[in-house]
Symmetry: C2
Subunit: 370 residues, 2 copies
C-alpha cells in the first residue's frame, strides 16, 4: 500500500525537468522500494509474478478501476494497457479506426503531430485540416480555421506538444467524426470529458509511470477489425477481447502506474492536480513575461502547462545557465534541439517547490547577467 503522503521535499533527490521519462512522486518510488522483494506478503516482487496469477490480476484490475475513477471513464469505453508507446499508436490508430474509410483529418501543431501524420500516411490519405507551421508552431489554430472533412474516418490531434510547448485548453468539436487524441504529455493533468473522444492514447513516461506502458481509452463501438494483413499485436480487438493479456503485459510498469493512480487519488485527484498545475505554470509564465532576459514565444492562450520552453537573450550564457542550475539540484533543463534554448517540463509529479526554486534561480541569473 501507498504510505502516507509526506510532502515533496527532496533530500538527495534532484528537481528533474526532463520532458520524459520524467519525475515520479517520491511516495510512489518509496512504495515500490518497500515492496520490491515481497509484494503484500506474496514472497515475490511484482516483476516475478505470473501475469495470469491472482496477485497480478488484482494489481491490474485495481489500476484500471483507479484510472476509470480518476478520469471518470464511461463504462462503454475500453481501457487497454499495451506496449510500444505513442509511436506505435501513430500506426495503430489508422490501422484500426479507418473502418473502410480512405482518409483521416489531422491537426498539425508541432513535432509530435508531425510524426503522427507521417506514420498515418502509410495507411490512408491524410488531410491536414489545420496547421500552425506558419508560425513555427507557437500557437493552436482556432477551430474556425479548420477544414474538416465530414467523411474522414477520424480527427487526430495532439492536445499538448512537448517540444513546442503549446497546449489545447479546449476540446475540439468534430461532430459525428470520432476525435482521437495523443494525450501522452497531458493526460491526468487536467479535468476532461472523456465522452467527447473516440479514442485517447498516451505513452506512460510523463504523467502515468515508467516508459514501456501505453494506455488506450477507446469507445467500444469503434473497436472493429484492423486492416487486413496487419500483425495481430496491432489489432485493438485482439487486445480488447483478451483484456490486455493477449501476450505478457509490461507488468511492472503497470504496477507503478497503479501506485501513481493511488497517489493521485490521495492527493485530491485530477481537480487538485489541475489546480496545482495551473499554479506551477502560472509562476513560471508570470516570471517569463516580466523578464527582460528570458522569453517564451508561445501565444498566451495556448501555452502548455506541462512544458515551458524559454530562451535567454544571450544564448552564449546557456551552458552557464545549465551548469549553475545543475549545481543547485535542477537537471534536464536543456531545450529540444529543434527549438533551442531551455525547457522546463513540469508534470504532475513536479512539486511547486521545484518551480519556485527554478524561478528564484532564474531571477538571480537575470540580475547577474541581464
Amino acid at each position: 500500500m501507498m504510505n502516507d503522503v509526506k510532502g515533496y521535499t527532496a533530500t538527495s533527490r534532484v528537481y528533474n525537468f526532463s520532458p520524459g521519462p520524467a519525475m515520479l512522486s517520491r511516495e510512489v518510488l518509496q512504495c515500490a522500494r518497500e515492496e520490491m522483494l515481497d509484494w503484500h506478503g506474496s514472497g515475490m516482487s511484482v516483476m516475478e509474478m505470473s501475469h495470469r496469477g491472482k496477485e497480478f490480476t488484482a494489481i491490474a484490475h485495481q489500476a484500471e478501476a483507479d484510472l476509470r475513477e480518476l478520469m471518470r471513464i464511461p463504462a462503454h469505453y475500453k481501457v487497454l494497457f499495451l506496449q510500444g508507446g505513442a509511436t506505435l499508436q501513430f500506426a495503430m490508430v489508422p490501422v484500426n479506426l479507418l473502418r473502410g474509410k480512405k482518409s483521416a483529418d489531422y491537426i498539425y501543431t508541432g513535432e509530435w503531430s508531425k510524426k503522427a501524420i507521417a506514420e498515418a500516411k502509410k495507411f490512408c490519405a491524410v488531410n491536414v485540416a489545420a496547421s500552425s507551421e506558419d508560425a513555427k508552431f507557437t500557437y493552436v489554430p482556432t477551430q474556425d480555421q479548420w477544414r474538416l472533412d465530414p467523411n474522414a474516418a477520424y480527427v487526430h490531434y495532439t492536445p499538448n506538444e512537448t517540444i513546442n510547448g503549446v497546449e489545447f485548453h479546449w476540446i475540439p468539436d468534430t461532430g459525428k467524426v470520432p476525435l482521437v487524441a495523443d494525450m501522452s504529455s497531458n493526460i491526468l493533468s487536467r479535468a476532461l470529458e472523456v465522452e467527447r473522444f473516440g479514442l485517447i492514447y498516451a505513452g506512460a513516461q510523463k504523467n502515468i509511470g515508467p516508459a514501456g506502458l501505453t494506455i488506450i481509452i477507446v469507445q467500444e463501438d469503434l473497436i472493429e477489425r484492423a486492416l487486413p494483413g496487419m500483425p495481430s499485436m496491432l489489432d485493438y480487438k485482439v487486445h480488447a477481447d483478451n483484456d490486455s493479456m493477449y501476450n505478457t503485459p509490461p507488468a511492472y510498469a503497470l504496477y507503478i502506474a497503479g501506485l501513481n493512480f493511488q497517489w493521485l487519488k490521495k492527493n485530491g485527484g485530477i481537480a487538485a492536480m489541475e489546480k496545482r498545475n495551473i499554479e506551477k505554470a502560472g509562476l513560471l509564465y508570470d516570471f517569463l513575461d516580466n523578464s527582460r532576459f528570458f522569453r517564451n514565444q508561445v501565444r498566451t492562450s495556448d501555452r502548455s502547462r506541462m512544458n515551458v520552453p524559454f530562451t535567454l537573450n544571450n544564448s552564449a550564457l546557456e551552458e552557464a545557465f545549465l551548469e549553475q542550475a545543475k549545481a543547485r539540484g535542477m537537471v534536464q533543463l536543456k531545450g529540444h534541439r529543434l527549438v533551442g534554448g531551455m525547457r522546463a517540463s513540469i508534470y504532475n509529479a513536479m512539486p511547486i517547490e521545484g518551480v519556485q526554486t527554478l524561478v528564484a534561480f532564474m531571477r538571480e541569473f537575470e540580475d547577474r547577467h541581464g
Copy 2:
C-alpha cells in the same frame, strides 16, 4: 553497483516456479531496491531518466556490452532492445526477413511454435518442415526427418517449449538459409554459438528480466527493409539505425536486465549457469524417473532444462499437491491447461535449494499418497 553475492537463501521469499514472468535473483532485486530513489548519486530513479541523457545511455551501453560478453555475440550482429514480446516478433520476423522471398520453413514442436506459425501465415507461405504433433509434442524431430526448402527465406524454430517441456539440445544445420530462434525461455541458460543463427529473439520475462523488454540479436546483413506498408515500429532497420532509441525504450526493464547480466557475470557466466541448470534439471528428472507416482512424458533426449512438466498418477490429488507445496513456500507449480498436471519452471534464477526442496516434498508426498 551489484552487491557482493550473498547466496540464494530466501527468508520471506518463496520458491517461484512460474513459467514467466519468473523468479529473479535476490541480488538483482536488492540492488534495484537500493537504487530506487537515487541511481549512483544522480538524484533520480532509473524510471525518471531521460532515455537520451548520459546516465541512461551509460546503463544501456553497459547492458549491451555485458550481454555481448556473456553470449559472445560477434561484432557483425546487432543487438536490439525493443518492446512487444516474442508475440510481436512472430510478425516482425517474416515482415523483415522475407526479403523478396515467398515462403519460410517452420519447425512445429509445441504451443509456441504453433503461435509463431499462425502469425507468419499472415505474411508468407509457411512450410512446416517438421512436426512432433503426432506424439503431442513430447519430442523434437531429429534433423534427418526435416523437409527443408532450400528457397525458404529462413528456418524458424523454438529451442525450448515452455508448455510442452521439450528442448533442443543441438543447433539445427540449415546451410545457407538463415536460422531464426525464439529463445525466450532458454536464452542465457546454456552456451551457444551465436554465429550459427541469423536471428535470435527473446522476451525478457524468463531468463533476462521483467516483462516488457524484448531482445533481438540479428546478423547485420539480414537487416534490409521491412515489407512495404508496415508500421515503422515493425522495421528492424528503423530500430537498428536509431540504436534502439527510435522511440522511448522500456528503460527500467532494460536496467533490470543489465543488473541481471552483471549477476550472471559475477556468478561465472553462462558456463556456470549451464552447469547449474544441468544439475537442477537432473535432480528433478532423476526423481521423476524413479518415481512410481510422478511422471514426465517427454523423450529423455529432448527434455527441457527450463520447464519440467509432470503428472500425478492420481489426478484427484493435484489440488492437495499444490496446496501443500504452497504451504512450504513453493508456488506456481500448476501445469498449463493444455498439458495438465504440474510444471516446475527452473530458470537461471531458481537456486538449486529450490529444486531440492521441491524434490524432498514430492518424495514425501509420494510416500504418503503413492
